[in-house]
Amino acid sequence: MVFALLKYGLSRHYPARHQFPRPRELKPSYDLVIIGGGGHGLATAYYLARDWGITNVAVLDKGYLAGGNTGRNTAIIRSNYLTPEGVQFYDESIRLYKDLSNDFDLNILYSERGHLTLAHTDAAIRTMRWRAEVNKHFGVDSELVFPAEIAKLCPQLNLSDKVRYPVLGALYHVPGAIARHDAVAWGYGAGAATRGVEIHQRTEVTGILREGVNGTGGRVTGVVTDRGTIKCGKVIQAVAGASSLVAAMVGLKLPIRTIPLQACVSQPLKPFLDKIIVSGSLHVYISQSSRGELVMGGSTDPYSLYGTRSTLDFKEGLMMHMLELFPYLAEVKLLRQWAGMTDMTPDFAPIMGETPVENYYIDAGWGTWGFKATPVCGKRNAEMLATGKVPELIAPFSHRRFLEFKQLGEKGAASVGH
């Protein structure tokens, strides 16, 4: 038996420590307020505390810890993006991910599985090659593979050409991984909290105080919450689906649409599928978690919504296509479906960094793909907040690009890919 478990088994008192010391009251002021206690907010707090010793920080979340998209996401981690900006960014994230369990002293069940993005058209083949080439340029392990090799990598896939949309090739990304999404957030939260960061759950930000607003964005001085007003030095928002609403509190308009993304799990099955399989043309992706469920999803909902209701159409479309790839799953049972609210940008790349409002920073536009970015966002946000300088890695994701019509070209890699 593993030593750590012996410890738990033999000690009378479980557990060793409380992971999230719970502050009762809000302090009147903090050096820094992080709006949003999802993965991004918590990771930012963690690295601020760990790497920069900044702990007079409050993380405010209107719900429970990581109850936003972090707690709803299908946890696919990969760096096989299309743009140089994206690939380098996500690559750093993967490197951070690999150490997280040990950093946290909490197993995030990081599981490197290999990731296959299927191509069903020759146009998709071209995009896959493009991605493979850009990836390799930055040392990221991706390769364009064809059916004979796919059959070896994933014999579970239906590679028949007798289907409506036969598989012509795939982008094979060796480091593609999944992890226990909640554990990532908890690890960051616990790491931040035990270092002195205050995490206030069920605390909603309802306004942001500024001074010097005349023609410019002014300067942030505090935040208003449903539990009272607090003063603060800097503020960063990391609120995913609520990005536009919180940004509007400082008069900032974003190119974001809030659109539900749904997902579902099957009943737990004995392990049979190692690879993570994604098909953009069929709008499906699937992986099997360590618990044995098939974790599945597709593209975003057909219209915007500030809500997480489930739909039948989602499941119908998903399964129709899923059974093309895995016909033998017809009698497998769906266990549960749910939804998150994604903050979709038009170029499928995030919005990060400074804003026209002094001391106000943003981490938004994570859409359907931001879980994998959690560590790098936390680390680089922390660096930015601590030093006041925008790190090179996140500079390309500035809000300004939309005003100048300089969108990033990530569409080809992000859409259904997560």
């Binding site: 593993v2 109850g67 990081y110 554990a183 737990p268 044995g292 209701r309 569409k411």
Partner: protein
């Protein structure tokens, strides 16, 4: 084993005339038609159905209601079949799940004894040191996880779907549902009544409402007869309503069909789930709900044991005790958790039968048989406080423990619909406090248990639903005041045991201390507790665990149950198979009129969105040769390609030209009738999104083509803009109306002349970029002289019904000139030789006009076109890349592939978008994005090809072939 078959009249669902033999765990058993797998096995004395998820403890029936946590079995390739719902069939071969070895000797059962080393969330706590070790542990953990098995050879059976419509949908065919359905149908509403069981009745069919025991059955018979006789009610049995979706859209699964029922109003009469009493070993086979014992007896004619202890906190426990006695089960004792004497006819009847009743007491432990395959005795002790008992207990030998400590309403659908519940401390129940409009609830789902109130409430719900559906209704039916909600639920049926195995969640093997530990560790929000402990996340989705886990969380955090709240209930209500959700997989396929001719000619067809198009003609083995032959035919003689998939739009009206001026980048106002003009479309961001040709046939009429994949979007966009501009123009999508071919090659005119009598074809009479209408082989045609492939060519559009005839006529006319049909691959090379771009291949999601080097396609004299303003901004900002033509500096270098990168100083500056070896030019040609300062013809740049090798390319201004465009203008 101690369970056995009872004689009739027990077993109302059985047809004893029809014995059925089936297999379980390698042995053969016989049951009757109507038996579930679980009931038939119980009748055969099989005591263990499965092994639990984590500890591999033996488990069996708990509820027998079709929603058991641990009754999941595998049938052939089908995993996780609920054995307490699926009925047996001849020859069915059932195997247990999650067993290493056999059900009786599960090697993994050893985990149970290691349990204390596996605290809640144990996998989060270890297995990761030293770094990298998780990779190895993961394999073990994964192998232990999971229940059913997937068979890669499993067939994909037939599943389908059907829409259904109703004024009123009633979910649940118990007393409340039947009353609701009758009331609504009475006023004329069309009602669909959905019941997941094989017959109507719900609790009436198994519960005991009176000492004599006949009331339920007679009421059931009466109501069911009325329902079945009513023409306004459609009854769906064996049908599960698996969720509520917006605007009363209900998925109802029956067999392999998914019914999508749309109702105007809905009555939820889904009853309630009985809840477990928590004590040590409360998971063992032989511990079951009172309703389970009653279902086994009354529905399936199974005697659930021989000697029972009943633990109860309500009348239903006494009802069950009477049923047990009548079924020949000795009742060793009834432990009533309530200290006061509960007055009630059922309790009196039990007392009258001489059964010892202990008040203020509970079962604290089930003493297991060896191997935990059943129970030997129950320990019963006095309750001294919330969850506390005396240390002294009585031991009652028994093989059955029946519990009746209360219910949790089946509010799944109500939650899906946004309804709210709140915990009533007085009744210790979650009660519905708010329902959305046009949704109604009745019966025990609302916490109403008195039968007359259940029926009254059902009637009133049916009445309200009919009213909401627009029917004229009379006065609202009355509901008796006493809804019988008191004395049903015990507020704290949780008796933690110092040695544990006091299970809260049977799916996930969660015990009391697991929940407390999770909370102590900081996962103190009910949602966090759930996620950390996985309580409620297994196959039965908290049916058996939600209520108790919320109570525990509330107490441990010092909050009320109401403040603590419940976790979100999500669809599906019960499991549903992927196949049922997928149904028939409608995937539209569109075929051009000439499709069969291509197939007959040996074309390899490729998917192009919904369409199929010929990639090339001939065997795959000679692909390159086939393409070469097709290309050379076009360059040297004449070729024919099917371009019917091109979008076609008729733009008509006095404002037609003005409209195109706004939609496309070029100018159309002065385009003469009889002329064709290139049409490039940009979006608001100036991004190139489509292209085609605009042919003017009349002052008021343009025929505009669009790309195959863009046609629908172009049409939609045109209508979108004109909904705002209100120009006098009408746009019709005629994509499918026109078959089209491109006849191209130096001999094209000769071929065409053979079948064309009424259009003058000479270069002077019908020059390049002109259009004509005429007849070809008697077929009315629109003929456009354009040259995507750079030869003398005619794009010919004819009514689609005559497309095949046109194809035949051209192939016949071209025979003497060596006509060859050509496919997409040949066309891609031919157009590349001319430097024509393909939108979506040579452009990407952000390519704007200047990047594509297509400034020539912009008319600068127009005040407006979609994208103009943004293009002006782009022009001002300057370029970051540019599309250029290129050839290889060293012809001996291998050809780059499409999407190979253009590298400068170690940086990515662009990529190739089209590359091909030109037969006529004898060299590799291509298009690529390069840095703007590399775009001058003659500039060299570097491409990284396969294997990381760098090769040099030289910018060459297209067209590569026939730069003077002489051939297409012949």
């Amino acid at each position: 084993m101690t369970t056995s078959r009872l004689p009739a009249p027990a077993g109302a669902l059985l047809d004893r005339a029809k014995p059925i033999t089936f297999g379980f765990d390698g042995r053969s058993y016989t049951g009757f038609e109507g038996d579930t797998i679980a009931s038939a096995l119980a009748a055969n004395g099989v005591g263990v159905l499965s092994r639990s998820f984590k500890y591999h403890r033996p488990r069996a029936v708990l509820s027998a209601a079709g929603h058991d946590a641990n009754a999941l079995v595998q049938i052939g390739a089908e995993p996780s079949v609920p054995a307490d719902r699926r009925r047996i069939e001849p020859g069915l071969s059932v195997t247990p799940q999650n067993v290493f070895g056999s059900l009786a000797h599960d090697r993994a059962a050893v985990i149970d004894s290691l349990g204390r080393f596996l605290p809640v969330g144990f996998y989060y706590k270890t297995f990761f040191r030293p770094k990298g070790s998780w990779k190895h542990w993961e394999k073990l953990i994964r192998a232990l996880a999971g229940l059913g098995k997937v068979d890669l050879a499993a067939p994909h059976g037939y599943h389908d779907k059907q829409y259904l419509f109703a004024d009123v949908a009633v979910v649940g065919g118990g007393a409340a549902g039947m009353a609701a359905a009758l009331e609504a149908a009475e006023v004329g509403a069309e009602v669909v009544l959905i019941e997941e069981n094989p017959r109507l009745g719900g609790a009436l069919g198994y519960a005991r409402f009176d000492p004599e025991g006949g009331h339920g059955a007679s009421l059931m018979a009466e109501l069911a007869a009325k329902v079945e006789a009513h023409t306004g009610i459609t009854v769906m049995l064996d049908a599960t309503c698996n969720g509520w979706f917006a605007d009363h859209y209900l998925p109802v699964i029956r067999g392999t069909r998914l019914h999508k029922l749309r109702a105007r109003s809905v009555v939820v009469a889904t009853g309630s789930y009985e809840q477990p009493l928590v004590f040590r070993n409360n998971d063992l086979p032989g511990v079951m709900y009172s309703s389970a014992a009653q279902r086994l007896i009354r529905h399936y004619g199974v005697r659930p044991g021989t000697r029972a202890v009943v633990a109860t906190a309500n009348g239903d426990g006494y009802g069950a005790a009477l049923d047990l006695l009548e079924a020949g089960v000795e009742v060793a004792c009834v432990a009533d958790l309530r200290p006061e004497r509960s007055d009630g006819a059922l309790a009196d009847a039990v007392a009258d039968r001489g059964v010892p009743i202990v008040r203020g007491a509970t079962v604290t432990e089930a003493v297991p048989q060896r191997g935990l395959v059943g129970i030997e005795a129950a320990r019963v002790a006095r309750i001294t406080g919330q969850g506390l008992t005396t240390a002294l207990d009585d031991r009652f030998a028994c093989d059955l423990i029946v519990t009746a400590i209360g219910y949790n309403p089946t509010t799944n659908l109500i939650h899906h619909a946004g309804g709210r519940v709140s915990y009533n401390e007085e009744t210790a129940m979650f009660e519905v406090t708010w329902l959305p409009e046009t949704l109604h609830a009745a019966g025990s789902v609302t916490g109403t248990f008195a039968l007359d109130a259940v029926i009254g409430e059902g009637r009133r719900a049916g009445w309200s639903a009919a009213r909401d559906a627009g029917f004229k209704v009379g006065a609202a039916p009355a509901v008796p005041n006493d809804r019988g909600q008191r004395g049903v639920n015990h507020p704290w049926p949780i008796f933690p045991h110092p040695k544990g195995r006091d299970f809260i969640d049977f799916d996930e093997d969660i015990q009391v201390h697991d929940i407390l530990d999770a909370i102590q560790e900081g996962y103190d929000d009910i949602e966090l507790m759930k996620r950390f402990s996985t309580c409620g996340m297994g196959p039965s989705q908290g049916r058996h665990s939600s209520l108790n886990s919320v109570r525990l969380t509330a107490r441990a955090t010092g909050r009320t149950v109401d403040e603590t709240g419940t976790t979100t209930s999500r669809p599906p209500y019960a499991q549903e198979s992927f196949g049922v959700l997928a149904g028939r997989s409608f995937e539209p396929e569109r075929l051009t009129p000439m499709h069969h001719r291509h197939v007959e000619a040996g074309a390899r067809m490729m998917v192009a969105g919904q369409w199929y198009r010929p990639e090339y003609y001939g065997p795959a083995a000679t692909r390159a040769e086939n393409i070469r032959r097709e290309v050379m035919a076009v360059r040297e003689a004449v070729g024919l390609i099917d371009v019917s998939t091109l979008g076609g739009l008729e733009v008509c009206g006095p404002d037609a030209a003005e409209f195109l001026n706004r939609i496309y980048t070029f100018a159309y106002a002065k385009q003469p009738v009889g002329r064709a003009r290139y049409a490039l479309m940009t979006d608001q961001a100036g991004v190139v999104v489509d292209d085609g040709v605009a042919c003017r046939f009349h002052d008021h009429h343009f025929y505009v083509t669009a790309t195959t994949s863009g046609a629908a979007a172009v049409y939609q966009r045109m209508l979108f803009w004109n909904a705002q501009w209100r120009l006098q123009v009408n746009v019709t999508n005629v994509t499918a109306s026109w078959a089209a071919v491109n006849l191209a090659g130096p001999k094209a005119r000769m071929v065409l002349a053979k079948i064309c009598a009424d259009v003058e074809l000479s270069a002077e009479a019908f020059p390049y970029m002109e259009v004509r209408q005429g007849n070809l082989a008697g077929i009315p045609a629109r003929i456009i002289r354009i040259g995507f492939v750079g030869e003398l060519g005619y794009e010919i559009h004819v009514p689609s019904s005559q497309g095949e005839a046109l194809w035949d006529a051209l192939m016949a006319a071209g025979q003497e000139h060596g006509i060859v049909p050509f496919g997409i691959e040949a066309q891609r090379l031919l157009r590349l030789e001319k430097g024509h771009i393909i939108i979506g291949q040579d452009t990407d999601g952000v390519t704007h006009v200047f990047e594509a080097d297509m400034a020539w396609a912009i008319s600068r004299n127009k005040p407006y076109f979609v994208g103009k303003r943004t293009l002006a901004i782009h022009e001002k900002n300057g370029l970051t890349r540019k599309l250029v033509g290129f050839t290889l500096k060293n012809p001996a270098d291998p050809a780059p592939k499409e999407s190979h990168l253009v590298i400068r100083d170690g940086q990515i500056v662009g990529r190739t978008t089209s590359v091909n070896g030109s037969f006529v030019l004898g060299k590799v040609i291509g298009l690529a994005y390069v840095a703007p300062d590399q775009a001058e013809p003659g500039t060299t740049f570097q491409i990284r090809i396969e294997g990381g090798r760098m090769i040099e390319a030289v910018v060459e201004k297209p067209p590569f072939y026939d730069p003077g465009n002489k051939r297409q203008e012949l």
